[in-house]
Symmetry: C2
Subunit: 495 residues, 2 copies
């Protein structure tokens, strides 16, 4: 293990934490970093550092790090930018080298004072061998260790890691993901990346046993070659989903103003995704919906997808969406079509693929036969079930929707011939009753680990990228070295 | 006025309507066509035709059209497909030529019986000069005349027309639109287009004084040249927003199964949109959000857009989304930046464009100064205001959100230097209180005719296409013939 990895191991499992810049009284509106750590219930030893206070929120305060009774695993600096260099000198003098700088106002401002301060803290960090997360970031969240530096974080932990160059995104993405029953191993908002960059974090997460899926929000990268090698290796063992910002001209400019990073061109990044197998997300919602597919689905033999739903216009939209997402949508075999036609009358129904068949959703026995028959078709690898809750609600005010949800969450899997499936639902009417039944169904399906989407394009897009990753990974596995060796490379071979 | 236009005028303003296939007892679940018309409160004379009933739902029934006391403005046929030819012969024999065939089971099935029946009804319609909307469609909805043939339709009327080849879409799109305070002049679901095609409907709507914005869901077109000329003419006077389905291979196949139409290739349609100035929508939500922009916004001098919001990652995403949508995002002038820097500290805030400035949203006076200053910048034509409700909610549990909404809905317009603006909001936390305040804000803004979006990509995409249409229209106006002549051509010159 190299030094940075060792440091991250400590920072991610802190037993003692100091906060420089813990105000005597809690600010209004936002509790401050100290307040956030305390409110979340951090079980370790927490030291507020404030030379002007004897205690902070009932906890004994210390004038500086040198006076603390022990070295800490993590120092969090939450001071105005001009006071940060002095705080770093205190870190160095006290031998506390693992640091998160929350403060903003450095090179991202593009202004003289910010650039000067950036130079100053960079020099101190380099000279003293400090390991810095930040500045200009929210820092670390490790639910399993009861640690967070922001408000509103879930207490649950799970298999997803999030590495983010934006602090706002750390909070927003975890909120979105939690709604989809996705919980986190580690969330790291690392901002301007003074010394610790995304690649260091990736190297750690590659072998973190708590982490099965890696998600990232990237603005810029310092060592592109290292990122390329690292992600190529990690995708052998874990999916890496990346939201790359700043791919347009205006976006590149905004990135420079936000974290002072170089965003890199769109072409380079397209090649990066092709070469590494990393999965490209277009926004936070998209990244969460992708992670949900990775969490729930096991594997697929190919991209050939059947869609079953109700509504002709929606069936056409589904076909367009599948094609646009890169899924294949073959016609069902003649035999399959003949069987379906035996159950589904021709007027107003489509049976070739997409299957648009109103009667199927009224009768669970028929639904089961249709799912069994379609997934038995050798032309089909995967399935999307598309539900119009407005229409289903009109049958009996929601009872049928609950029946469909119960069926899909339970017995359905047994009749799918081992083929993966996802559910997409929609409700356009402004009726809170329908929305409530929809949310209930969603939660039922998520608990059964069935990916559920509110929009067909999102369902098709997620399924396509999940399946392509799976097939990419499988073909590499077959061609290349065994897993152990690649794991070894991912963890140590790419410095 | 040609004959078809005359017929449509009658069908859209019916005083007497006959329904062939009005069952003696109401079916369970769905009230049937007759039930729908009755339930909606049609104020005209309604004749159920059913040879096996004396009365239907308390209304005297008639054995056939020939026995009715008067000719009707519209006959609706709701019978199984095999019974439709006989009903059409009854129409012809009784001199009732304006017909909506609800029934499905014709050429869209691709099966022998359906194709035979299609041939039969086509022959009757041609020989007898019948004007048919359908078959395989939901028909007509004209709120101002109290007429509809489906459930759940709003009673309010408004300036939007919707021409749809899908019946499900007619219902779904109006539901989505109603939520955005958009109401309809006419909604026409025309299915297989036996005699009346989208072009006939467009020709009518071009000069319909009730219709200011035309929206369309198209699967296929019979006379592409006519559509091209017609839409080119209409866009001089009214926006035409088209959701074209079946642009992919799988979509084309689905279109053939749905309405038996030929979808046409993607290249042709791209050229069509370029040539006509029609606005291309990608799905139903997108079309509604576009229509909202057209309803609310007046005009723009160009595409140069400023974004003001809070959250750095979101600011970067906003810049990428604007660029991707085709908006320009210039840096603000030095003068503007200098003024903004006077109010907004540099740490954690961005002022170049996008403007990412947390303090601005806490202080309405500062907000006003910033909006005034940014919109006074000659480098800027339009503005997007991007709100994170999760963050605003934490200030005071929603009071500040209401203040922002009140300000934007009222005084804001006065300080925008006449430049158009839209609002985009987001909430990722699973907190129903935040969502409720968000919905309240949304409704407040919509009532003030300020376009409001739940997703920044949608806001940027709608604004860009609205602005491009506006600029396209303006440049044509300046170059070409005066409006009256083009209106004349739109109404009659393109047969």
């Amino acid at each position: 293990m190299n030094e940075t990895i060792n440091a991250l191991e400590k920072m991610f499992h802190p037993k003692a934490v100091a906060v420089i810049g813990a105000p005597r009284t809690r600010p209004s509106g936002w509790p401050g970093i100290f307040g956030c750590i305390k409110d979340y219930g951090f079980p370790g030893r927490l030291y507020p550092v404030n030379p002007g206070a004897d205690e902070v929120e009932g906890v004994r305060a210390w004038p500086n790090l040198r006076s603390l009774p022990e070295p800490v695993d993590l120092v969090v600096i939450s001071l105005p930018a001009p006071a940060v260099p002095e705080a770093l000198r205190d870190c160095a003098a006290s031998g506390n080298k693992n640091i998160h700088i929350f403060s903003a106002g450095f090179k991202e401002t593009g202004e003289e004072e910010g650039l000067r301060l950036h130079g100053e803290i960079e020099n101190i960090a380099r000279r003293e061998g400090l390991r810095v997360i930040g500045p200009n970031c929210m820092g670390i969240h490790v639910p399993s260790k009861g640690f967070v530096t922001w408000v509103g974080a879930s207490k649950k932990s799970g298999p997803v890691a999030f590495v983010s160059q934006s602090g706002g995104h750390s909070q927003d993405f975890t909120s979105i993901a939690n709604r989809l029953e996705l919980y986190f191993s580690k969330v790291i908002s690392y901002g301007n990346a003074l010394t610790i960059d995304s690649t260091d974090l990736l190297e750690y997460l590659a072998r973190d046993p708590e982490t099965e899926i890696i998600t990232m929000y990237l603005e810029g990268v310092k060592d592109g070659r290292r990122l390329l090698r690292l992600v190529s290796d990690i995708t052998r063992i874990k999916p890496v989903i990346i939201l790359k910002a700043g791919l347009t001209e205006a976006g590149t400019r905004a990135v420079a103003s936000h974290t002072g990073s170089l965003a890199g061109g769109e072409k380079i990044w397209k090649a990066f995704f092709r070469a590494t197998g990393a999965v490209s997300a277009v926004n936070l919602d998209d990244m969460a919906y992708l992670a949900m597919a990775f969490r729930c689905l096991e594997g697929t033999e190919g991209l050939r997808t059947a869609v079953i739903g109700h509504g002709g216009g929606i069936a056409v939209a589904a076909a367009d969406a599948c094609s646009a997402a890169g899924l294949e949508m073959p016609q069902l075999n003649r035999d399959t079509q003949r069987k379906l036609r035996g159950w589904i009358p021709s007027g107003g129904n489509i049976i070739r693929n997409p299957v648009d068949a109103v009667p199927v959703f009224r009768n669970m026995d028929l639904f089961q036969e249709v799912l069994r028959t379609v997934t038995a078709d050798p032309a089909i690898d995967m399935m999307i079930i598309s539900l119009s809750l407005d229409w289903l609600f009109d049958i009996d005010e929601g009872i049928q929707i609950e029946k469909v949800a119960e069926y899909l969450a339970g017995p359905a899997r047994q009749c799918m011939n081992g083929k993966p499936f996802v559910v997409s639902w929609r409700s356009y009417r402004n009726d809170p009753r329908i929305f409530k039944v929809g949310e209930k169904m969603e939660s039922r399906l998520l608990k059964a680990k069935i990916p559920v989407y509110r929009n067909f394009e999102q369902a098709a897009g997620s399924l396509a990228r999940w399946a392509k990753f799976h097939l990419f990974q499988k073909s590499r596995m077959e061609q290349e070295q065994p897993e152990e060796e690649s794991l070894h490379r991912a963890c140590s071979g790419c410095r």
